[in-house]
Amino acid sequence: MPTIRIQADDFDLTHEQSLIRERHRHVGAIASFVGVVRDINDGQGVSAMTLEHYPGMTEKALTNIVVDAASRWNVIDATVIHRIGTMQPTDQIVLVMVASAHRGDAFAACEFIMDFLKTDAPFWKKEQTADGSRWVDARASDESAQQRWKPT
């Protein structure tokens, strides 16, 4: 059911959302998240960003995350698109879109998928700065964002 795509091309929010709306007439709420290339990171200017991934495992990991979300909340449909290759500041990197009957489920599932994508999906960012290129370090805050979804 979910749409999972890894692609170099940009994506169109309206188009992806229309596909979901046309498929389901019970959808009342669609929460979306778009990650965007910032022109600054860790205090340094970023002129470009290159995304590397592990083909096969990315799709598998993203599918597992969406299935987990659908087991916890009402998820009528979901779309995850992650771009790879080189992007510039203000470019879209990732889309997570979740359609539910009501908004609480859509918001929670969308944020859950994003949080686990950040810690479990095999993508790596390399930034181009004035000092050359550098691999982006994983953030402890992403680890803690993911941990809070653990059942208590």
Partner: protein
Amino acid sequence: MIKILYFASLRESIGVAEESIAMPATATVGALVEALRDRGGVYAEVLAVTKRWRVAVNQDMAQLTDPIKAGDEVAIFPPVTGG
């Protein structure tokens, strides 16, 4: 044989994206990493226990105690930074 894939900074440091290695029939992820580390040089450096790296077996995140067998695809990479 076990297929090993390296990604991102590990791939760049080691200088290869993929290699194959023979392991005993009852090996674990930890034993494989140990065998690579024993090569010394850049392997010992990037796979040091103090470094943060992750392992996936057949495209699922794995622990050092997980078993591996001939034909498995093992990937070693830094913590992920997508999204």
